[in-house]
């Protein structure tokens, strides 16, 4: 038995890499040594005289080596929407984008609101076996905002946190009980912060563009209204609360203030909200239809500021595949969503160049920050942890090509956009699941 284990052990050194490990603050050239699927050691001083002969050496050519990205907001519409994305296509997209763990939202059909569906997800993830796939549990049965799901049992079965995906828990009494009950088990509740009645029928953010297009608008305050209510309930219950995809200046201010008051609240945003504005919906471009909607320029700048000062903890892709038939429709009928797994890294790295945020700070939002929030072991480069890593070239120039995306759906407003930064090699448990390093 011991002999067999030894035989499968494989020592491999990734040398000549710019090591980026946000949780330890490491940003230095050095080496990562892995043994099979685990990290053995990392650091600038590993093998000063070169690695020994029994170690396979991979030259990282000076590229960055970071923990594999954790994308905490992915719509993987299987079961129910396999024509839009399957476990295989989503995993291929994740691997190509440097994402080693994705956490899937529960708005599948059927919803992830019971153990059977969680187990289905776990089985499909095992079968697919490309990147790691985790799941959220639904907060309420059928995402109907009424009856709580079995938080405790679902959590034991593997649900990392709870959310109703793109539906806000709008009933205040239900939300109070959700937060109270979740805090009993110290579970994280992820809210879609949008006051649904105020946003009813809304197709895009309210403003000059919605007026010109003649589309019903969602006022920006729909976001902060929901957050401010929730913060009172967080104060009342002590629950851990995470606001998904925040997009507005007012919401970010409210979160900043809540954090200053010591409330256990966190939030994320998605690249589209610091890259695009509602101007992208001109000519009724349905690929720019997302929920929450793209906002105005002031809000976009506030999102960047929120990332710079640490108010926004996490960047997640909010990957939401939609097939042609869901997008080639009049704007009001088109489904919201952008595929984001493959563009998460380059769009985030643009902030290093354009907004002067350090690489380590940006990588933190994609790795250790979501990892810690969801209490995962992934997201760090440390001995004994899974060898989930991404080697990326932050300077690699390329052009996003929708047709070349690995995702089954190609709904991106970033088609033909020139970007910098690309995952050159994605490593999951020591396996190279994507490599451009030759």
């Amino acid at each position: 038995m011991t002999e067999q284990l030894r035989a499968t052990e494989q020592l491999r050194a990734y040398v000549n890499a710019r090591l980026l490990d946000p949780s330890s603050g490491l940003d230095e050239t050095g080496t990562v040594l892995i043994d099979g699927n685990k990290i053995i050691d990392t650091g600038p001083h590993l093998f000063p005289n070169g690695p020994p002969a029994n170690v396979q050496v991979i030259d990282c050519k000076g590229y960055c080596l970071a923990p594999g990205l954790i994308d905490m907001r992915v719509h993987l519409p299987e079961p129910g929407g396999e024509h839009k994305e399957s476990f295989e296509t989503a995993s291929a997209a994740a691997a190509a984008g440097g994402v080693t763990s994705m956490i899937c939202l529960p708005d599948t059909d059927p919803a992830i609101d019971n153990v059977a569906v969680i187990e289905f997800i776990a089985r499909r993830a095992r079968e697919t076996n490309i990147v790691k796939i985790y799941a959220y549990g639904a907060i309420t049965r059928g995402l109907e905002g009424k009856e709580l799901t079995e938080f405790g049992i679902l959590s034991e079965a593997g649900a990392l946190a709870f959310t109703d995906a793109t539906k806000a828990i709008s009933d205040t009494l239900v939300m109070r009980r959700v937060l109270s009950y979740a805090s009993t088990f110290d579970l994280l509740i992820v809210q879609h912060p949008e006051e649904p009645k105020l946003a009813r029928n809304g197709q895009m953010t309210e403003g000059e563009m919605s007026t010109r297009l003649g589309l019903a608008g969602i006022p920006a305050v729909a976001e902060v209204i929901m957050l401010e209510r929730d913060f009172r309930l967080v104060e009342l219950t002590g629950a851990r609360y995470h606001a998904a995809h925040v997009t507005t200046a007012a919401a970010i201010d409210a979160i900043r203030a809540a954090k200053a008051r010591g409330l256990p609240v966190t939030c994320d945003t998605a690249p589209q909200y610091f890259t695009l504005t509602d101007a992208a919906t001109a000519e009724y471009r349905t690929f720019a239809k997302v929920s929450p909607p793209l906002r105005c320029e002031e809000d976009r700048l506030a999102v960047i500021e929120g990332l710079r000062d640490g108010t926004i903890d996490v960047i997640a892709s909010d990957h939401r595949p939609q097939d042609q038939d869901s997008k080639r429709l009049p704007f009001v009928q088109a489904e919201p969503g952008i595929v984001g797994l493959e563009t998460l890294l380059p769009l985030t790295l643009a902030l290093h160049r354009d907004a002067d945020i350090s690489l380590l700070d940006l990588i933190r939002r994609l790795t250790s920050a979501p990892g810690e929030l969801l209490r995962m072991k992934e997201g760090r480069l440390a001995p004994g942890l899974p060898a989930d890593m991404v080697i990326f070239d932050p300077d690699h120039d390329w052009t996003i090509d929708a047709a070349a995306l690995k995702s089954r759906s190609k709904n991106t407003p970033f088609d033909q956009m020139p970007v910098q930064g690309k995952a050159m090699c994605t490593i999951v448990g020591g396996r190279h699941v994507h490599s451009l390093m030759g």
Binding site: E206, G207, E208, S210, T211, R212, L213, G214, L215, A216, G217, P219, E283, Y284, D325, R328, L329, P330, F331, V332, Q333
Partner: protein, 311 residues
Amino acid sequence: MNILGMEGVPKEEIETLLDLSESYIEQNRQDNKKSSILRGRTLINVFFENSTRTRTSFELAGKRLGADVINMSVSDSAIKKGETLIDTAMTLNAMHPDVLTVRHGASGAVQLLSEKVTCSVLNAGDGSHEHPTQALLDALTIRRRRQSLKGLTVAICGDILHSRVARSNIYLLNTMGAHVRLVAPKTLLPAAIEKLGVEVHHNMLDGIRDADIIMMLRLQTERMQGSYVPSTREYFRFFGLDREKLAVAKPDALIMHPGPMNRGIEIDSELADDIHRSVIHEQVEMGVAVRMACLDLVTRSLSRNTDRDPA
């Protein structure tokens, strides 16, 4: 060539259309109203939303120019059967029409359809977006009464929020150098509307004071009872046009309405029938002429394309 909206359409093009429309007003008043410039052409009126008036106006316009005109009502049931807008567009396109006039309840739907067909498309109203032929016929009506649109003060009153007529008129009137004022309660005004270059008023007397033209918009029945305004009675009191309010406008101010009117809700019934002030029926007449001009213009560009085509 398509006519999808008035946003961004240059002054010269609007003037060309209005000048061309003038010639058709005369034609429409003859015993023989028919010419043959569109002979052999096929016009399909595709209405995803019911409208007897606009459809009839386009139908007459096409027939008076000698085109073969087909009316198609795409009922909800066809859509429920699963045919998408693009499927419908492709199907129609395969029948080789020369012009499609399209009305659709969703903003942007006509543009989407136009991207999938090879013929000309005229927007006969899309959602709350644009209704360009209505703005043109309004402009023609005004121009015939006041010679020019330049420098006129035009007050557009009522449900601006949902109105494609208001948006098309704002764009056209601004391009032509008129001053546009909007009058509505805040619940019926879209966000940031002032950025379209209009003066916004919530008090009707301020809004129509010294105005040359007062355009009343229709308030849909389902929006009257408590959702956007509390009641028809309250709406008429503050935003309905009656003689008392009209007195603050210029003495010869014209009253317009795109129809169909809600008498006693947005406009006093007698006032609507006052031939000295109301040009509502003239608007309907101008509608046919303007649509003839639009059909004429867009098919001219079709002929040119055919001439150029070596095949």
